[in-house]
Subunit: 412 residues, 2 copies
């Protein structure tokens, strides 16, 4: 089977067609989980899969599985996939590439009339981004048993709509139980979302591990007061204190190279009025590292700094850990299948660590898993200008095809 | 007239009655300019003034003037007042005390059947706080000719409602022209909104001057990108840069004691998502100082720092000055009338600078003006816990009575 290849032009056209749903003025996508636009994207995917001869099943958290039968349908399927939802001002590739590359693999197998031993599946995980409903990676997390489905269905967006009700409303609350769906292997193709492959001039990233993560909420409580007549020494300005913590978080990230990362992405100032000293500031912290010990050390540095600052300033500084993910080592056989696929197709490759969270990280808890990265321009993602070239998308999809063939086996 | 005094109990009851309109759970008030609650507050004030025998006129920007005739009604009135609108989570005293103390002066003159030479007026200025419609001190600013009335009427709140339309809607777009309303003198009683009188154990602040102010908007433009896989050295994190500027603004404030102040009260982070590096941060700066030269120096320090930081970080840092107010010296005769009133009533007094903006600062541009401050608990205002004691409110009102009598003259 070394001579078959996917159709890079068809993959690109399919990506651009999907990108019309929720297209933004600057060339990105806004297709938030379980909105009408998410439904439109899902409907389009289902129609494409059915045209390719697949049956599509939906589980109770809205994950979708499009199946191409194998020769031996008692074998666990070899599965690939990712997500169709985007960030509020997201791009056309994050998640979508992994889903539509899976569809392109099916179309290629059809074109070449390849019968695999095991069935091949393409799946779409619900709400990977976690921006409308927190936390992220809900569909794969429920699938892997990391989240309780009833708690996840009760999650609310800022308007008070629950995830469960929105799933019903758009018609994607399926009747299959979420989880217990066996997989022989799981592969996920994704843009790198970082600048390393581009800087190293490599086409394929063979992803051997993924960063652990810690998510925190920090609340600084000072005292709101009038910005004019309150003398500087008498102030308890929560934003001045929060700003110091932002600086310290940035320092912690810089002091754990090359994969350590620490970010404040969200901040809410109260009462947020021009002539009032802020009395309260709430902000998020996102810390990542591929080694559990280093990640724990980063957290401890943050906590110690906040405790000291609270004493120095006589303000409340409350650090609350809201979510954590252990570092992941992917499956050796699956990683080998990716490496061999890249070698077979003659693409420049390198080993890489995933800095971002991906559905594959939860799936790895219940099935042998690996990931494939392709470069994205300037390492930028979660932004409208996010871009991956047609050639890189095609290369990643080609490696995905061969990794799937490696694991599914061919009947010929 | 040295033996007449205001009724502190009646003043307090009147304050507490007004505070029911827009009362908040923690004992504060939320009565934003030109809302239904503002209308209720205005209606109540009008009914009280009419019961006290005053006629009430309204000008085209919604400023209200309640007039008690004098012996010689060709004389320009001696006017006092302040505002009834509050901050979003404001207190019961800021502004309201100045208005209702004026009403209490009228009631006291009635009780004692005092006929003044000049008429006495109590006025309410429209939208002093400037939080629903920016900028602040709109009514007095239009009155003094500092603002163009058509531009002010076109100001929009965050819902897109214009000030002009809201003024019509609540029935307070009056038929008197705004401005050109002569005053023999203007006095404004206000809580200090700072901790100085309390710390010095003085009951009355004789306000000789007011801080100049500069308001700025700063926009930091970096690049939004994924918080996981973007290596720390490759980031253009707008919030990290904004946080440095917040620290510098705080330093500038601290380095201009005792009256210099510098505050970031408002901040908006984009896209404000937990796992996205912020690409853009917009925030406000409020700088104040009683000396024009020092204020200009503070501004220059800010601009230089932002220019340097923009170069160092290769991010956009745009500083835009949106409003300015020169430092004010109040009228010597009016200030003397306040000082003599405090001496006559035997209250501990001190000279003080106003750190906050007040309607009196605009009125001072067109009429002889002075202010009277009373202490507020812990110097806190613009907050629900803002508090001034019954005794201090009464003392301030008593000094106001005698300052007005000093300027209006008595026929007896």
């Amino acid at each position: 089977m070394r001579n078959i290849h996917i159709d890079g032009g068809r993959l690109w056209d399919t990506l651009m067609e999907m990108a019309k749903i929720g297209a933004t003025p600057k060339g990105g996508c806004r297709r938030l989980a379980l909105t009408d636009l998410d439904k439109q994207g899902r409907d389009l995917f289902v129609s494409w899969c059915q045209s390719a001869g697949c049956t599509v099943r939906v589980d109770s958290i809205g994950n979708m599985f499009a199946r191409r039968p194998g020769k031996d349908n008692t074998l666990a399927p070899i599965t690939t996939g990712s997500h169709l939802d985007t960030q509020p001002s997201g791009g056309k590739f994050d998640g979508v590439l992994g889903v539509l590359a899976g569809l392109e693999v099916i179309r290629t197998l059809n074109d070449h009339k390849v019968e695999t031993e095991a069935p091949v599946e393409v799946c779409v995980w619900t709400n990977e981004e976690g921006t409308r409903f927190a936390p992220s990676m809900m569909g794969s997390g429920v699938f892997a048993g990391a989240f309780d489905i009833d708690e996840i269905k009760a999650a609310e967006d800022t308007e008070g709509a629950t995830l469960g009700a929105e799933l019903e409303r758009i018609g994607y609350a399926g009747d299959e139980p979420a989880g217990g769906h066996e997989m022989g292997a799981y592969f996920e193709l994704h843009i790198e979302q970082g600048p390393i492959l581009e800087a190293e001039e490599k086409t394929i990233g063979v992803v051997g591990a993924a960063n652990g993560q810690g998510w925190y909420d920090i609340t600084v409580t000072g005292q709101d007061s009038h910005a004019g007549p309150t003398p500087m020494p008498a102030r308890k300005d929560a934003l001045v204190t929060a700003s110091k913590i932002v600086q310290e978080i940035n320092r912690i990230g810089h002091d754990h190279p090359p994969f350590g990362a620490a970010t404040v992405g969200f901040m809410q100032v109260s009462p947020n009025s021009r002539n009032v000293i802020p009395g309260k500031v709430i902000f998020s912290v996102d810390m990542r590292h591929p080694e559990a010990e280093a990640l724990a050390h980063m957290e401890q540095e943050l906590r110690t700094y906040c405790e000291d600052l609270s004493q120095q300033t006589d303000m409340g500084v409350e650090v609350s850990k809201i979510w954590a993910l252990e570092p992941t080592q992917f499956d050796k056989d699956c990683v080998d299948a990716v490496r061999e696929g890249a070698t077979l197709c003659d693409y420049d490759q390198m080993e890489i660590v995933s800095g971002a969270g991906h559905d594959a990280i939860y799936v790895a808890q219940v099935a042998p898993t690996a990931m494939i990265f392709v470069p994205c321009e300037n390492g930028i993602s979660h932004a409208e200008i996010e871009y991956a070239s047609k050639e890189h998308c095609a290369a990643g999809c080609d490696v995905l095809l061969h990794a799937i063939l490696n694991q599914a086996g061919t009947a010929g």
